[in-house]
Assembly symmetry: C2
Homo-oligomer: 395 residues x 2
């Protein structure tokens, strides 16, 4: 079955996380992604632990479905070859610090002269405009500056970094959306454009109601802990062998819940009659619920609550996530055979398309694995030309 | 200037967060999004506090640039009218619990008979397949089940929910990517398809290196706190008046950093000679750095570190985020005039397109504000037909 983005040619200069995440999504959905890497070292992430037979699990999880070509962009011949490629691709993606491509003489203004249909996507820490544009950023820094740390953590506790690099990942996702949007526009006009996404902007864009709460009500949001600010009970409880998140969203569910935990007497307690009262009196209510919840194992509660329709879920650790029946049924953990690392497990594809489903077709490439193939098949170079380039250390 | 998605007609049945976030991105980039709401009540989020002159700030922040039409889908006439609209739009988006549209007789199989070009996007808690498909989910539940809580929090501390609803938001973003991908495919084939995105899948997809660490090395990730697991110092420090995140990624920066904080003697300390040693001896190093950092205010350190090139950033609260010079320069907080609420501030658009920039063109709609206009202009109904529908309580 054909894939949706088949025929879309992407030249991928990205490293580490934000950019590679964007091009991974495109590759998963069928695009031909050519990952351009510096000879010898390649993507920095190739060095990130843990390694399996010398191959980085981190790198492998972000670069499946891509081809790797090495090219030294600091050489004149390398730049020429690069421009030759630019004329044959639809999209270029980079996540250098702003100014880097310009210093190489390969900025957007230069490249769009070579190919007016080119979509040039840049993911960076602070974006290509504004006073911080040229500053270096890391995920931890934009999580700090973007406000999400200030609302994450235990109530009254210290601001807390989100445990996955969502500063990078959401920037990667917005970059993908920008590329596909520019593509839709190009279908109508034949013209490419530049897509500029910053990690800091992306953090602001996912702050959700925190911005509304502050700008509308003047309230400065603080770490909200694990409970819902206005629905009760809507929080995790300890069980006999773990924890369980319970979400009792209305009075019908409250009645069901009290029966399920054998605490029907709470239904007659005036302190807990409505959600507003349960929320106001949460500190009195919580111990009365915590005690019965401790009496059964998480799996027992889940079965009981699922049967009667109370929204609930365990707090899974990663080893539990990867074997969860729903995660497995949705193919969100896939196995792929890597020529050096052997069979490895990777996250699956969260976008399920009925007619043109994405697929993890191949493992991440070895450094420069496809250089010769691309020079020959994409650029049409002769064996003599290729040998010549190799001799000059261009790849 | 034209917008990239101009001419894309989206019928939006979504409520609350995940779905509205997806259609907001489309609307921000130029799509015509018609928000279909139940008469009288409308989107549940209209009731979410805080309110300004009775208008929910939460709702307003997610539904700008959309038009609102009311329609009772439980009536026969309402269903007919709905199918009439389906024949005229490109995309339908819904985030009901799976099975809801089928019970209304308006499932994907029915609707694609009406319009083979239709792209049908569904965002749900667990997805449209698999054993948990029909179960209710909330952000807190998928954050718990999807593993991100298990890696967020202080070291040795309790699993912590991310302070914004990234379970919803990332599902919304993947839904947008799915829609635009299906659109690219339709350009080539003329055929629509179904896009099925689940909040749980989306959580797995953003777990990043946690899955690689576990599946490759067998290590079950736990809350990692605020410091980098393998780079030191790369963590927040208290200052005289707040906190500052500092990221000293290599030995050159380490030398610069020690000079900047006037602790050159640390450069000769064998315990801290390399990054590996600094990481191994972090507990001894931290107090030696914490003491000088306490001596100046955050703004003073920022100026000093920015001058010498040490990556750093304050841990901003939301009131600080919205006035940050870079956030302001990138137009990530925009003001819009609402007919009832007056001037309100909203998050801006994180996807910056050079030729067809997105725009916050208008405030969120009042319930049913555009019903008559849409019946007349989109469906071509006569005043008599419209009056008739109104009399039957169809909208």
């Amino acid at each position: 079955m054909a894939q949706a983005l088949e025929g879309l040619h992407v030249l991928d200069l990205t490293r580490v996380l934000a950019g590679p995440y964007a091009t991974m999504i495109l590759a998963d959905l069928g695009a031909d992604v050519i990952k351009l890497e510096m000879p010898i070292s390649g993507d920095d992430a190739r060095a990130f632990p843990p390694h399996i037979n010398g191959e980085s699990a981190y790198f492998m999880s972000l670069n499946r479905n891509k081809r790797s070509m090495t090219l030294n962009l600091k050489t004149t011949k390398g730049k020429e070859l690069f421009k030759d490629m630019i004329r044959r691709v639809d999209v270029i993606v980079e996540n250098f610090r702003p100014g880097t491509m310009e210093r190489l003489g390969l900025g957007y203004d230069v490249l769009c002269e070579e190919n007016s249909r080119l979509i040039y996507a840049a993911a960076s820490g602070f974006g290509h405009t504004g006073p911080y544009s040229r500053r270096p950023a890391y995920d931890a820094i934009v999580q700090a500056m973007g406000g999400i740390m200030s609302i994450t953590g235990q109530v009254g506790g210290t601001p807390t970094r989100v445990g996955s690099s969502i500063g990078d990942i959401t920037a990667g996702m917005f970059t993908t959306i920008g590329i596909l949007t520019a593509l839709a526009h190009r279908e109508k006009t034949g013209l490419g454009q530049k897509v500029d996404v910053s990690m800091l902007d992306s953090q602001v864009a996912i702050l959700e109601n925190a911005i509304a709460r502050y700008t509308a009500a003047g309230e400065i949001p603080t770490p909200i802990g694990n409970r819902h600010p206005s629905i009760t009970p809507f929080e995790p409880f300890d069980t006999k062998d773990g924890q369980l998140m319970v979400a009792v969203g209305n009075n019908v569910l409250w009645s069901t819940f009290c029966s399920a935990i054998a605490r029907e007497e709470l239904l007659d307690d005036p302190r807990f009659e409505t959600n507003a009262l349960r929320t106001a009196n949460q500190s009195e209510l919580r111990p009365l619920l915590a005690e019965p919840l401790l009496q059964k194992r998480t799996a027992e509660w889940r079965e009981l609550f699922d049967t009667v329709g109370i929204p609930n879920g365990p707090i899974n650790s990663v080893d539990e996530v990867v074997v969860d029946p729903q995660v497995v049924a949705r193919e969100m953990i896939v196995e792929v055979d890597h020529p050096v690392a052997g069979k490895t497990s990777l996250p699956g594809i969260p976008i399920k398309l009925s007619a043109t489903p994405g697929a993890v077709r191949q493992s991440a490439p070895l450094l420069g694995q496809h250089t010769v193939e691309i020079l020959r098949d994409v650029l049409g170079y002769s064996p003599q030309q290729i040998a010549d380039l190799e001799q000059h250390g261009i790849f």
